[in-house]
Subunit: 295 residues, 2 copies
């Protein structure tokens, strides 16, 4: 696991440098917006989704610089969603990654614009020829990320999450909610490596299946940490889901049931990766990292 953590840190640093170059400089008449975009995107997070893009792309010998651009676009979408989810009208969160949330550090109007502009930038990055020389591949990435981020993906999931407050959801409803809210971006993360590598349909299907297990496992672990994690390590307030009366996977499965499900998801994920042999090592390790992490 120490080897994986080193690899995660190295990849996160390379991604950070790329984001620094892609985000607008803190100059010009709209410098405040630019500063807030950088505040919301730089210097934080495990960069798990970009790591998955790179680990998937590696299976098809895709140059790392291309995978990193896709990872950057995906991370821009993820960061925009955090900024908007933290707004007073949504989760009304005060801290994120150990710092004031974007609307607390700047103001609410700026935070709304930050999210909007980060989303635009993500698609600008994907459409750029530097991402892949074949425009068909770039269009496929744009379409995939747009679907994963939009009403049939992340935004739809966030809508279900808002509606879930105080409601008593069934397990399958909670799973659907999570598949949309967090699962759709995980799926894009894992599948985009195959898109970059112009892999065949069976390979894409296997990576999608792996991603779906990983996304659900990530959410179960997140819920476990929300119940029993360390706020200092998390960099945000914990116990928020319980306080808001949200139906979580852990509430629906019970603590033992949740841990049992994690083990089942791990087995299923490993089966999906079998066809890729030793090259899928980082994907196997990241699964174990996700279900054992302390933050």
């Amino acid at each position: 696991m120490a080897e994986l953590e080193r690899l995660l840190a190295t990849e996160a640093e390379a991604l950070e440098q790329l984001l620094v170059s892609l985000l607008p400089a803190e100059t010009g008449p709209a410098a405040k917006l630019h500063a807030a975009m950088r505040y919301a995107s730089l210097g934080g997070g495990k960069r798990l989704r970009p790591f998955l893009v790179g680990a998937g792309a590696r299976l098809f010998d895709v140059p790392p610089a291309r995978a990193r651009r896709v990872g950057a676009a995906l991370e821009l979408i993820h960061c925009y969603s955090l900024v908007h989810d933290d707004l007073p009208a949504m989760d009304d969160a005060a801290t994120r990654r150990g710092r004031p949330t974007c609307h607390r550090q700047f103001d609410e109007a700026t935070a709304i614009l930050v999210g909007d502009a980060l989303q635009s930038l993500a698609f600008e990055v994907l459409a750029d020829p530097a991402t892949h020389p074949d425009p068909e591949v770039r269009c496929s990435l744009v379409e995939g990320l747009a679907k994963a981020a939009g009403a049939a993906g992340m935004c739809g999931g966030q809508q279900l999450d808002l509606a879930a407050e105080g409601a008593s959801l069934q397990l399958d409803q909670i799973i659907l909610l999570q598949q949309l809210k967090t699962g759709a971006l995980f799926r894009f993360a894992c599948e985009s490596g195959a898109v970059l590598g112009q892999a065949d349909a069976a390979e894409r299907t296997a990576l999608r299946a792996f991603a779906d297990d990983l996304g659900l496992a990530f959410q179960i672990k997140d819920d476990l940490l929300d119940v029993a994690g360390d706020p200092a390590l998390a960099g945000k307030e914990l116990g928020q889901d319980q306080a808001a009366g949200k139906a979580t996977l852990v509430a629906a499965l019970g603590l033992d049931g949740a841990r049992q499900r994690l083990a089942e998801l791990r087995q299923s994920a490993l089966v999906s990766l079998e066809r890729f042999g030793p090259a899928a090592g980082p994907l196997r390790q990241i699964f174990d990292f996700v279900i054992t992490r302390a933050y």
Copy 2:
């Protein structure tokens, strides 16, 4: 002008039908989000930007169905920006197009998600092969719209607009603000016809110049209507800019100066269109419509 208004109405109706088919149906677990997306995008507006895409595309014999898809993507971006600009943290507007604004009709969290999901959908539409068979063209459209909508375009302009409340801006600062806030989408509207038609650089430059004159004229007319328009025709509250102490073009130029500038912009716009001959008729007519409209 009656002929143009008929053409505008015909095009608006065709665009409406396309948007109806592109927007998610009001069904499924996130039906509320889908309903709010449709509320924010359907049944309103002059659809000026999509009309410009079509009028530009016509110069290069682009099939109207392709231009209409680009127009739909652009209109989705425009509609998302209206939803977010109307939010309490931004302009706090109660009515839009004669109806309650999206956050008043639904709620604030839903309105934020509506804007986010409409933006994703816009890029999904552009990346789809139905928009143009050549993926290089589709990537160019994605990149162009992302730049026009993002920090270097519309979002940057909205940031300047928020900062302008109570500030005394110079004329060139107000012009920059408007070039970003409204001008960038007008420019994309006019230029995208040339992108679809794979026109040469000189033709693209001429359409950009026309768009810049049109965008500024549109804004001056908007400011004039805000001072002396009919709220019943506008479908929104007027006099808001003055009340908010915003520096408008009309405040900076004076009423006579503003009307003089409109005449100069018209001359300049006509010069830009000369190379296109009679085929540019709708673009000439739309300029006159924009500066003489009563709403």
